[in-house]
Symmetry: C2
Amino acid sequence: MQPVKIGLMGLGTVGGGTATVLLRNCDEIARRVGRKLEVVHAAARDIADQTILDPAKVKLSDDASSVVNDPDVDIVVELIGGYSPAKELVLKAIENGKHVVTANKALIALHGAEIFKAAEEKGVIVAYEAAVAGGIPIIKAVREGLSANQIEWVAGIINGTGNFILTEMRDKGRDFADVLKEAQELGYAEADPTFDVEGIDAAHKLTILASLSFGIPLQFDKTFTEGISKITREDVTFAEELGYRIKHLGIARKSANGIEMRVHPTLIPERRLIANVDGVMNAVLIKADAVGPTLYYGAGAGAEPTASAVVADLVDVARVMDSSPEQRVPMLGFRSDAMQDTPVVAHDEFETSYYIRMQADDRPGVLADVTSIFAANGISIEAVIQKEPKDGQTRVCLIMLTSLIVEKNMTKALSEIEALDSIEGDVTKIRLEHLD
Amino acid sequence: MQPVKIGLMGLGTVGGGTATVLLRNCDEIARRVGRKLEVVHAAARDIADQTILDPAKVKLSDDASSVVNDPDVDIVVELIGGYSPAKELVLKAIENGKHVVTANKALIALHGAEIFKAAEEKGVIVAYEAAVAGGIPIIKAVREGLSANQIEWVAGIINGTGNFILTEMRDKGRDFADVLKEAQELGYAEADPTFDVEGIDAAHKLTILASLSFGIPLQFDKTFTEGISKITREDVTFAEELGYRIKHLGIARKSANGIEMRVHPTLIPERRLIANVDGVMNAVLIKADAVGPTLYYGAGAGAEPTASAVVADLVDVARVMDSSPEQRVPMLGFRSDAMQDTPVVAHDEFETSYYIRMQADDRPGVLADVTSIFAANGISIEAVIQKEPKDGQTRVCLIMLTSLIVEKNMTKALSEIEALDSIEGDVTKIRLEHLD
């Protein structure tokens, strides 16, 4: 059979990795697909500097639109990132009848609906395995591997930078700011780390996972997001004393009130497998009605791990590109005419347990005041640690784990506690999930 | 679209689970596929006793051949197990132009070549996701999710009964025989536990994983198999003291000499995620050249977890049954005309580290004798524990971890050590893998 002809836009980390993997594993891939996957055209801003592709065999451009308009190209791979011009290029590729593979989570989370609609109308495929959890084939697992199930919830460590920071804080007792600086030096974190540490990147990925799991529209704007920049090394240590690890989780859950989509620091029992996923690694834990819990672990970023997912998409597209669109796996797992607009739950209705930490005066009655406020708001205390005041200090550190409680009740209780004369400053609250 | 018409053979644990999941999740599945999956015919020995399927809607037979010969049936699901009549029924279904879904690992491992050849000639699909690691979509992950990669090795906990026994031995300090008896009472282990504890079941699954990973023929007879019945609770404890867990692993590895396929008890570092997979759960760790390590975890057995995989196969078949056979994912991942008959490595050429335990006389020179023999055979010692003799005993327990060594050299060294007057009885050896 004829080779599949690929146009590559972007030759940065992931683009370079993709070109490298396609060249190195060309024969192994052809043994699987029955035809070769050939890069015929590539574009990048500094295309003259690239050293991976052979200019004698591959057209090279500094203008990405020449790739989407190249009649020789069957599949366009978008590895530029960001919203623009990625979106316009992808839509133009679709208009030109080309299939698209992308690793762009921001693009899919925000503009997926428009892009998938255009693709459906044109009968082409948009594949995006690399957009969530890098090299882990998690889109395929949710969309195809678990297709027999009603998915109950998904909980993922889906940002490697954040997980690296939390792991270093725990392993070495370091502070957030200190580890972040190292992560930036190592190249794990961007100069502007907001996307990673404030959970925006994870929220993009969670938006996609929620849609795939429940057959709901992509709704990035309704995803609740809380970052890890306020987590202190004391919180990490106290959590450990209580038998928990703090992880930055993306959680999507179907509850009686609708769908919860939330990204936040979370205490999880240390015995859970996902609590032991360390460093830059990613993992996604899925609870589904027939299969029960399954977990998928691997590298969530990096040149070749991400390329692994991009090329797997190319293989999938190569296999089905000539079949009728009716027979293909729907782009969001559920058919577009079967999507349900289940309500999304507001964050003050989320029901979780909590880790609470506060500074209190070291005098009689303080614990009684605090616990009465919790009791009056329907909150049970499951565990307490009280740390004696350090030399010369008059305040004690009070840590509590609570039972399940609706967030708005917790917010009310904490505002009452913060108003007490005996409590200094803000009370720290971190959500706790048992994941069972 | 017309519903897909399913014929179900076997209504035991997995068959009952499959019928239950198809009924309960009928609507959710139709939202994904765009058509219903309907059981139209079911057969089981004691069909009159079944209570899941509605006799007003489903033909019920006590003769499975009536299912494979039913012109109404599009896909036959074989959940009878064993070699015969499963093999004859599957071949007859193929001859009749029906697609087949099976959970039968023994059948695929031993007769897969014949079955897949018949299916290719007839242009039908044989799907078997449930045959390896139950509900974990591991076939899909290897065959499609990692299709960009050259796979280096696969290491899996792929027998839940064995893992339950080893977990109980470690957690509760119990003996093998004692836990096995409980596992039989709980229904985790068969009355004849040979398939599970001697690694035959794991070897069936490993045979399939090796074929999928490397594009080699199914070769169950060349898979090296060693069971867990000789593991003592002392070994489990000593391993733990040294920072390791003992797991019954199936390992397939591409080495310079060819393909290694082996099932045996293995020490693995306790920090590895797979070392923390406990109880009846399964996990498969895969090292591949582009993505690096990825791990897949979930229930490896049970009614609904296995049904989850069976029904996922039904969904896959329903999606592509009307497409050209050329466009489908090859049954063993690689196209049948691209299989390679890479040599399989004999077990005396396997190179691993070892855990060694022996009973030695408590007198000067014994340790020197033992270590000289190891040195003479090129074996380095990485760690030693010597346990003082218990009251009234004159023998000490000597435990060693070795560096990497080819098995035949270890066998020679151990036979020399066993011949020493100062060593009592057989020396215990358990392989050790770092899995990095």
